[in-house]
């Protein structure tokens, strides 16, 4: 569940209001699809219920929610586990990975490690497909090749991102 983990990741740098979280999310990740306020408040309510965040204070004022959220230790552990878990290799997973890379950089974790872990996960699946190809007929080979070429494209993205990680870190801190 990426939105919840991403919001938690954004909270790691310090407590924020719901509207502030939405603005930070949209600025980093929501260029094409900004979050609805409803999504943010529903997600925060769930994170609160699950003990991932706590309400640090409530301000009086206009609007539906003036709660100021802070991440809990359980929330930090949850972010840690989410970042460490490689994404299931499939085409077009770059946006999920991109989000993890940015959250890692924003929270002072190793983005390189995330890319390395993902590379290994991709290679693991590519090995499986390569073995299946070796024992299969032409149909099997062509089906596996289709998947292998998509995974190879993901791998190129991983390499390119690994090579630009310092540049991205610099841009994020501007």
């Amino acid at each position: 569940m990426t939105i919840g983990h991403t919001l938690l990741g954004l909270l790691e740098s310090g407590p924020r209001h719901g509207y502030d979280l939405k603005r930070a999310f949209d600025e980093r990740f929501g260029h094409d699809r900004p979050l609805h306020y409803g999504q943010v408040y529903a997600t925060m309510a769930r994170l609160l219920k699950n003990g991932m965040v706590e309400v640090e204070g409530i301000e009086a004022g206009e609007g539906p929610d003036r709660k100021r959220y802070a991440i809990t230790d359980a929330g930090i552990t949850d972010v840690e586990q989410w970042l460490a878990q490689p994404e299931k290799p499939e085409p077009y997973l770059q946006s999920a990975l991109y989000t993890k890379v940015v959250v890692a950089l924003l929270t002072g974790r190793s983005a390189q490690h995330i890319l390395d872990t993902q590379r290994s996960e991709h290679l693991r699946l590519m090995r499986e497909l390569t073995r299946r190809k070796a024992g299969g007929d032409l149909s099997d080979q062509l089906i596996c090749d289709h998947a292998l070429f998509h995974l190879e494209a993901d791998m190129r993205w991983l390499e390119l991102t690994a090579a630009r990680i310092d540049q991205l870190a610099e841009e994020l801190t501007r």
Binding site: D116, S120, R124, M126, R127, E152
Partner: protein
């Protein structure tokens, strides 16, 4: 056993296939060419029968690592051990003899002797190891057959396609039944189909003979033929945690 002595065929099938002590290992390798550091503290190990892909961006030090592991290049600092022997402690002559008896090489280009036929090329390392011509050529013919290029036996390298030549090179590397095959971008000069087939034949033959393979490649589809990968970045080699 003296590792310079060619191993008996019966011993070849006994490679431990990933168990036990490393067959070949390196620790803290440093190598600088002029002002350019190629290796900056690289560690590596491979067990008998294992196929390990060495990956990384261009200029990361992949090929230098392979050259140090094979005893072709001496590191400025650090050690390489093969079956408990430290390579840098050996004389040049002993290292050369070890390379001939226990190591096989497949490179991207220009490894076949242009004046010899493909059969003579494959037989060459066997002849250098003292095998009689007739026996060496019979074994070479078997290997060409196995690599599906029996028909190029009497042709010279200049008369065959890139894919056929590379299969002859693989046959030549494997014919003496080496314990370690060093393959540096073995499919770099081949199209997709030829590259795939070359990798299938190389890895199948290595698994059959129990040879370990150090496979340097920047192509992930080639690396997918390995058992695990090592990533070289800025002259350091790391094994990703998920691959352990």
């Amino acid at each position: 056993m003296n590792p310079m002595t060619p191993t008996a065929p019966s011993a070849q099938g006994a490679h431990p296939g990933g168990n036990g002590a490393p067959l070949l290992s390196a620790a803290g390798l440093h190598k600088t060419y002029g002002a350019t550091p190629a290796l900056a503290g690289a560690d590596f190990e491979i067990r008998g029968g294992e196929i390990v892909a060495v990956m990384g961006p261009s200029g990361s030090g992949k090929s230098t690592l392979l050259h140090c592991l094979a005893g072709i290049v001496s590191p400025d600092a650090g050690t390489v051990h093969y079956q408990g022997l430290e390579l840098s402690a050996l004389s040049d002559a002993r290292r050369s003899a070890l390379r001939r008896s226990d190591f096989g090489f497949v490179f991207q280009f220009g490894q076949l002797v242009p004046e010899l036929t493909c059969l003579e090329n494959v037989a060459l390392p066997l002849r250098l190891a003292g095998t009689r011509r007739k026996d060496a050529e019979a074994r070479a013919a078997e290997w060409l057959e196995r690599l599906e290029v029996a028909d190029i036996a009497t042709k010279r390298p200049g008369e065959v396609s890139g894919g056929q030549g590379q299969r002859a090179a693989i046959a030549r590397a494997l014919a003496p039944r080496p314990r370690v095959v060093f393959a540096d971008e073995p499919t770099g000069a081949l199209d997709s189909l030829n590259g795939e087939r070359a990798m299938q034949l190389l890895t199948a033959a290595a698994r059959d003979t129990g040879a370990a393979v150090v496979l340097v490649t920047h192509e992930v589809r080639v690396a997918a033929y390995s058992d695990r990968e090592v990533v070289v970045r800025d002259g350091r080699a790391t094994t990703p945690a998920a691959a352990l």
